[in-house]
């Protein structure tokens, strides 16, 4: 996490070590408590400006970062590709340098291309936080997911998490698999082979049927299935995917009674998950969203707090 020029960026979860993750999760607990107060605001980052630079539409992640920054009393600027000079052909580098020159103290970046946040981190002197880049990484999602799992499961060592769905195209899965492994969890994936890269980290167990791994999973982590995968030939049809991989009431009945059902959102109800399961007591989807704000507060505070370090 320590990089050039002494500043800190968050580009993927493996820039943190286990101890840093633990302390980050602890400070997130304190911020979660702040969010339950009547006045949900602390002055930790007063006078700082956080810029959300979003090259890809994302209402929930952008709002989550915006709320996190505002709850820390930072000023927030939202810059989305559709309403910016990007359409006039300004390069990523020039956009980043412009935002920095305006006095931004940190940049939160979402980009459809892998590595765009890494390039900005290299070019800029301010901290860069990756809010999701291409198929590469989504570290703040992975950290909030670990936070949620730990709140519900306690110690994570030896607990099994199963990621279900389009692992190949998913930055959530890539960062999530890393983060869960770092916390000592057993990681499994369940998907049709066309959704599974051959180069998963060693130790990740692979299943071609969700039914084969239901019973032994403490966490079932569902990924969003995009309709275009059918056209691209990754799936014969959504119906076939639903038949083998949808988490429905029947399958939930075969899982551990205390299983946690998670999803990064937005859900395709009726595809990877049925509405009833989404609203079941096992489902943590709403709690993930709540914790997302607290964890992002902890991340912003870590990178920007005080004068360059918590």
């Amino acid at each position: 996490m320590f990089r050039n020029r002494g500043k800190r960026d968050l580009l993927d979860v493996d820039q943190l070590d286990r101890a840093e993750i633990e302390s980050l999760l602890e400070s997130a607990e304190a911020f979660e408590e702040v969010l339950r107060r009547p006045i949900k605001k602390v002055p930790a980052l007063r006078g700082k400006t956080v810029v959300n630079l979003f090259y890809e539409p994302s209402t929930r992640t952008r709002m989550s970062f915006e709320l996190a920054a505002k709850s820390l009393s930072a000023d927030v600027l939202n810059f989305s590709a559709s309403s910016s000079s990007v359409e006039k052909g300004e390069s990523l580098k020039d956009t980043g340098l412009t935002v920095q020159a305006m006095g931004a103290d940190a940049l939160v970046v979402r980009h459809p291309m892998a590595g765009a946040p890494d390039k900005l981190a290299e070019w800029l002197d301010i901290p860069v936080i990756n809010a999701g880049d291409g198929m590469h990484a989504h570290p703040t999602q992975a950290l909030l997911d670990i936070y949620v799992m730990r709140k519900r499961l306690g110690a994570l060592e030896g607990k099994r998490v199963t990621f279900v769905g389009d692992i190949l195209h998913s930055r959530v899965a890539r960062s999530g698999i890393k983060a869960c492994s770092m916390m000592g969890m057993e990681v499994a994936v369940a998907a049709p082979p066309t959704f599974l890269p051959d180069w998963l980290p060693s130790g990740v167990e692979v299943f071609y049927r969700l039914d084969d791994v239901l019973r032994d999973s403490h966490v079932i982590y569902l990924l969003r299935i995009q309709r275009e995968r059918q056209v691209q030939g990754f799936l014969p049809s959504l119906e076939e995917y639903v038949h083998f991989f949808q988490l429905n009431e029947e399958r939930l009945g075969k899982a551990r009674p205390d299983v946690l059902v998670m999803h990064p959102g937005p859900m395709n109800r009726g595809v990877e998950i049925t509405p009833k399961v989404a609203e079941s007591p096992q489902s943590l989807v709403d709690y993930q969203v709540t914790c997302g704000v607290a964890v992002r507060m902890a991340i912003l505070f870590l990178l920007l707090g005080g004068s360059g370090g918590a």
């Binding site: 580098k93 980009h111 291309m113 892998a114 590595g115 390039k119 291409g134 930055r171 890269p197 180069w199």
Partner: protein, 436 residues
């Protein structure tokens, strides 16, 4: 034109597989005397003691970007770069704007290069009109133009239509020309950025499987076998491609192949994050692939080293990895890199390496003496390279003659340097070290 005397060098002659020490006297563009102890006689002298003398190199594969891409390279900067690398002849690829699918276009380039007098230009013509992969370009007219196009390629794109590729090969039989295949099944490589494997997974970039190349290598070998036409496979990068080519050669299929310095040295593991200077097609592969390519150089399965010189502007490379173009600027570093990595490490003899830059590519193009190359005998055209094996230098793209500064080898220490180049007896490059 005045005389030049090259004193005390050691001549490496891959055309006759010999090497010997001699003084060479050059007059009116030709080597007029080869013997020991030629008197200085007021001639311009190159002291080549401890240095090697090679025939001028021939690059089978360079993108000189003219016409249409002059902000990245033009004929003058590209040929200057070629000469600095020791090349006295260059095949320029036709993926220009407009593409080289018409005799007037190739002749304009050919004449311009001839007037510059730095290196011979062999324009490669398009296989298909506009490089669109739909109908054949005027191959016969291109071949009978002033530039005498002797190789055809849609390089940058593969001719995906197997029926059309078959007819191109069949048609070329009448011309005696070679079809250069860019073996890449675009359905398999689609949107890929780096080799499909653990690095593509780690970086979250779409992968280009080695299969994208091998499927087309196999197809084109079968087409060459069936049509009897000459096929050359560009920038071969995988172990399985090597195996397919080796087997084809054993069967007597008229196929030749080239490999690039970067595929012979770097692997996917060398890609540092999202540095687009490492973004190239075919992508950098694995250690096993590099080893197979090196074996293929040594056993003759691969006939030539080609640069696939692909210059790009700094701005185009300095952006999101997916948006940056593919390619490496390679003309000025090729020989020193391979001398350092292969000859000095004992994997290849100096004679073999020189052959891969001279007699090998000449064979691919079916260029035989006196038209090109040929033995070091009196009367031979003086296209010569002086190479100092002792010189050590650091690759510094800011000093390239090429406009393309895009190299993954920036900062690398190499041994051995081209210090002087004669083209038709004229000095086209002279390092300070040579003119003391």
């Amino acid at each position: 034109m005045s005389e030049i005397l090259i004193r005390g060098g050691r001549v490496i002659d891959p055309f006759s597989s010999s090497s010997f020490s001699a003084d060479l006297l050059i007059r009116e563009g030709r080597i007029v005397s080869i013997s020991r102890g030629i008197a200085r006689n007021g001639f311009k002298v190159w002291e080549a003691d401890g240095k090697y003398i090679f025939p001028g190199f021939l690059d089978l594969h360079a993108h000189l970007r003219e016409p249409g891409g002059e902000e990245a390279e033009d004929l003058e900067s590209g040929l200057m770069a070629a000469v600095r690398g020791g090349y006295t002849a260059v095949c320029c690829m036709p993926n220009t704007e407009p593409p080289l699918d018409h005799p007037e276009l190739v002749d304009a380039l050919y004449l311009k290069a001839r007037s510059m007098g730095m290196a011979d230009l062999f324009p490669v013509g398009c296989i298909t009109r506009g490089r669109k992969g739909r109908e054949l370009a005027d191959m016969g007219l291109l071949n009978s133009s002033l530039a005498r196009v002797r190789a055809f390629s849609d390089d940058g794109d593969c001719v995906m239509d197997s029926g059309l590729m078959r007819r191109a090969l069949r048609y070329s039989r009448a011309l005696g020309t070679v079809i250069i295949s860019h073996p890449e099944d675009s359905a398999l490589s689609s949107n890929g950025q780096v080799n499909e494997g653990k690095v593509s997974y780690r970086l979250g970039l779409r992968g280009i499987p080695s299969l994208a190349e091998e499927v087309m290598v196999a197809r084109d070998i079968l087409l060459a076998e069936e049509t009897g036409a000459r096929l050359h496979l560009a920038h071969v990068s995988t172990a399985r491609s090597v195996r397919l080519i080796r087997e084809a050669k054993e069967r007597g299929v008229p196929v030749t192949a080239e490999a690039t310095p970067h595929h012979l040295i770097l692997t996917e593991e060398d890609i540092p994050g999202y540095d687009a200077n490492f973004k190239v097609k075919p992508p950098l592969r694995t250690k096993e692939d590099v080893e197979a390519l090196r074996e293929a150089l040594a056993d003759g399965t691969i006939d030539a080293v080609a640069t696939d010189h692909a210059p790009h502007t700094l701005q185009s490379k300095e952006q999101e990895f997916d948006y940056a173009p593919f390619g490496i600027s390679g003309l000025e570093t090729s020989f020193s890199l391979l001398y350092t990595e292969l000859v000095l490490k004992g994997e290849l003899s100096l004679e073999e390496l020189v052959g891969l830059f001279t007699s090998g590519p000449a064979r691919v193009l079916d260029l035989s003496p006196p038209l090109y190359g040929g033995e070091f005998v009196e009367g031979r055209v003086a296209d010569l390279v002086i190479f100092d094996p002792q010189a050590s230098w650091t690759i510094d793209p800011s000093r390239f003659a090429s406009k393309g500064k895009n190299t993954p080898f920036a900062g690398k220490e190499v041994k051995g340097k081209v210090v002087g180049v004669l083209k038709g007896g004229r000095i086209v490059y002279e390092d300070e070290a040579l003119c003391e």
